[in-house]
Symmetry: C2
Subunit: 542 residues, 2 copies
């Protein structure tokens, strides 16, 4: 060891990276600047800080300890926003659950995550009540939201207290800084993988901090950005934007239900400068009827992900005043780690050529260590000729710690020192990547990942089914929908309606196949179903 290395880290020159620090600063510097707007509710950065402190202190009072999992089943409301700070402040791990999941999956997540306490919006009580049947030991807190438009059966209180009562248990004293180690977990996000069972993606404080700074730099997020939270906070912690907004003391406008009318209203009334969403959200906007639209005369910057934005949508977005940046990432990478950064030389291109450029996923984020397209099964880069297909590999500080309680899957995902995305791409001569297909059989419908294996597992439980394969079928509205190809047992009979009804009983609505084709399945010599043949057939279905 040479002399320079002898300098110990002290609290003077070393602080564990954590996005919670951004809230502390925003509250100190811009205490009265609006942080969250939700209907008639308004919170300043000081409010959010104080509420997060109260949440953290209340959780501790209820026995939550360092490393414990606190789950939330909530819409994009202030409670979920502030929990992104309050739960980590308590030293706990925030597990946000997709509100569209079915009972069995919610139950699985509550068990697998070792959830100690669950904060849930009563809108989702019907599914939750059933999911909780096997988890009587979990403390439940109710978010009771007067703004919620509840359907019959929704709104039942399942908890021991309301969220507001929970906050009342805690003082607004700042808890001691968390974490001691920036490698500590901050969040746990379940994603559907190739196997039917969702995997728990564990985020660390270090990654969340760097992801947030990277987004400010790569998206050019200005001081006091006005952000519309259309992206669900249960996906990659809402692309880490709650933490990101604290850096620039921005304002998050939350809405419970996404629709063209609500989005246009929010843009016009709150002078939204930035929002994010899958191309389906853009599609909603450009196809909205005249009466749902609202005019605005400032540029709005939009981050889109989940599927390449189609040229027709890009053109209409541009006419509306939306400036689209296409990004790419996965739950395992804290969200977006690849961006389609604009090149000055594209200014001279005609619109279709520009749209083709924007449809590519792009290049590494400033905070992404490296992105490689590799010969599948290796880490050797493919030739950047725009033709050779390879798997997208990612590495850097905004890649997950690993899969919670699944060392084998973690090891597999990190083989060769890179995270293996399972997506197949080409690399163009300018270095931009363009995703062409998936190694894994995921259907992305309306921005939601659907594991084909999970759906197939249900199909196989239907008595008449011999073989089943689910692939993506292109769909104008949803991007993709699941399409089932089924080989029936000899002599057995079933209709499309039978199959769909059966799936509806056992799967979340968005996972149910929208079309069912009865056919002999194409197989390889070794008997493996040839999904690429079926994908082709699904594309050609009328």
């Amino acid at each position: 060891m040479n002399e320079e290395d002898a300098f110990p880290k002290t609290s003077a020159n070393y602080a564990a990276l954590s996005p919670v620090s951004f809230l502390r600063r925003a509250s100190g510097v811009f205490p009265s600047h609006p942080a969250v707007i939700y209907g008639d509710r308004r919170y300043t950065w000081r409010d959010i800080h104080d509420r997060a402190c109260r949440l953290a202190n209340a959780l501790r009072r209820l026995g939550i300890k360092e490393g414990d999992t606190v789950s939330m089943l909530a819409a994009n409301t202030p409670e979920l926003f502030e929990a992104h700070f309050g739960v980590p402040m308590a030293g706990a791990v925030l597990n946000t659950i997709n509100i569209r999941l079915d009972v069995a999956t919610i139950a699985h997540i509550l068990g697998h995550s070792r959830c100690k306490l669950l904060i849930a919006d009563t809108q989702f009580s019907p599914a939750l009540k059933a999911a909780l049947a096997a988890h009587g030991d979990i403390t439940v807190i109710d978010i009771v939201d007067d703004c919620a438009v509840l359907k019959p059966g929704e709104g039942e209180r399942l908890g021991k207290m309301t969220y507001d009562e929970l906050l009342d248990l805690g003082t607004a004293d700042t808890p001691p800084p968390q974490p001691q180690d920036e490698w500590d977990a901050i969040a746990l996000n379940y994603t559907s993988g190739t196997s039917g069972l969702p995997k728990g993606v564990l985020y660390h404080h270090r990654g969340a901090y760097l992801m947030s700074l990277g987004t400010v730099a790569a998206w050019g997020l200005p001081q006091h950005a006005r952000y519309l939270y259309t992206v669900p906070m249960f996906h990659c912690n809402g692309w880490c934007h709650a933490w990101t907004l604290a850096i620039v003391a921005g304002t998050a406008v939350c809405i419970r239900q996404i629709g063209a009318k609500a989005i246009f209203e929010a843009i016009a009334e709150h002078r939204i400068s930035h929002f994010g969403g899958a191309p389906i959200v853009l599609s909603l906007l450009v196809n909205a009827p005249e009466e749902e639209r609202r005019a605005f005369d400032w540029p709005v910057r939009v981050m889109t992900a989940g599927a390449p934005p189609p040229a027709a949508i890009l053109e209409k977005c541009q006419a509306l005043g939306l400036d689209i940046m296409h990004v790419y990432g996965l739950t395992e990478t804290f969200g977006h780690v690849v961006q389609c950064a604009w090149q000055d030389s594209w200014d001279a291109l005609d619109f279709p050529a520009q749209a083709a450029m924007k449809a590519r996923q792009g290049i590494a984020f400033p905070t992404t260590d490296d992105v490689r397209v590799a010969v599948p099964g290796t880490t050797d880069p493919i030739s950047p000729n725009g033709e050779e297909l390879g798997e997208v590999l990612i590495r850097g500080n905004t890649v997950m710690k690993g899969y919670f309680r699944d060392a084998q899957a973690t090891q597999q995902a990190f083989q060769g020192g890179w995270f293996h995305s399972g997506d197949l791409a080409v690399r163009h001569p300018d270095g931009y990547i363009e995703i062409k297909d998936r190694l894994k059989d995921i259907v992305i419908s309306g921005g939601e990942n659907i594991s084909s294996v999970e759906v197939e597992t249900v199909l196989y439980r239907y008595p008449a089914v011999a073989l089943a394969a689910v692939v993506a079928r292109p769909n104008d509205k949803w991007g993709e929908v699941p399409c089932a190809f089924i080989e029936l047992k000899e002599g057995a009979q079933a209709t499309e309606a039978d199959i769909i009804a059966f799936c509806r009983e056992h799967l979340a609505g968005f996972k149910v196949p929208k079309s069912v084709v009865f056919t002999g399945l194409p197989k390889t010599a070794t008997g493996k179903i040839q999904k690429h043949v079926l994908r082709q057939r699904a594309r050609e279905l009328q």
Copy 2:
């Protein structure tokens, strides 16, 4: 240890933070975008990357090893810019030396830093030649710049080869990533402290990386910012801006000599969007004669530091189209860690009140863990009432590793887990700090720190001097100039001209007292010179 902590760091999910990674990306994504402009010389980001690789590989070929010090005595030319990447890429530590220093101090730095190799502009050969007399073992490389307007005696080649010949020794292959440990040293910057001897402030890769991202966020630095490098790169590595510009693939316009004409020309011809400088640089601009001015019709954002910008200058800057952000920091904090962030509520103030707000140093940067004003000698916060004086304490990841080869000074600076700035400030009720005085006796003249102790040490060597004290005297042009108060020995005689001539022989020009007062020195009961009395008298001098 609970289960979550079991996840090892792998190259998939952990990369040592280093600003070198920003160059790798800028070169890959924006290869043909201009990175550096200097006179007729133009370099793209690919060029800078390739030249930095060649520099790194050449340094290794010359035997430079990990942790070795590579010094540079250079103006703001492309060589110094690219060395900010090339030297760390070689695993070495970049030691930039102030070009205005005297022979003895340069010699001290070369020895104390354990310099192995020195890259020096031949403009500075006169002082360097003398300084090198005691350091025959150092390999010297000459920067030979045709643009340099050399005075008689300047331009002598002292090295074994030119910088261009050095680059020719290296290949453009990317060297393996440095560092393995983000706590490794990246730079060594000597600062004058309270003692006369300069202290070597050691920066780590982690701090340099976070400082750069923090500046993008806090200054709102956009993609492809066009930055005029008026700030010397030998001060806090040019406020870390070479690294920062790589994040946004900006363009650095370098000029050798700062003057109003050169700055206006650069702004107009290169459409400069951002620059930095001490208030004296702003003063140069607003007081420039008409024929040196150039019109520009876009806003230019300016970061100013070193002294509070006076209201009169702020007003004239505003009229010119300069948008000033006042920042504060020290060599020990990688430069700016406190910023006078604008509050919306200030929009309603009249100009004098706005100027008073802007003259305050402000609040913590997003990447600064914390800033405190503490009761001197303690770490207890003073009351934020705008009146109580305390010492500014700073902590976080953008504080130095420590003072090189000075464990005692390091320990003292980090007492109580905070870096002690030595500056006295009040904290206003809104949390903004305003520096009022210095604990240490530094004179800041034209943005340069002058240690009064160092000047006094020279004065004491003059035979007729009994007692000497140097304090700052306010000066319209330089901000402050050193003013010497001297008590002569009984019966001894000296004139102001004698003293100034003596100092000129032993000190760099900017450190020489501009006025000398012969007087009996005011002392405390215990015989300590009362500098605060002298400061007051210096202020009142006609």
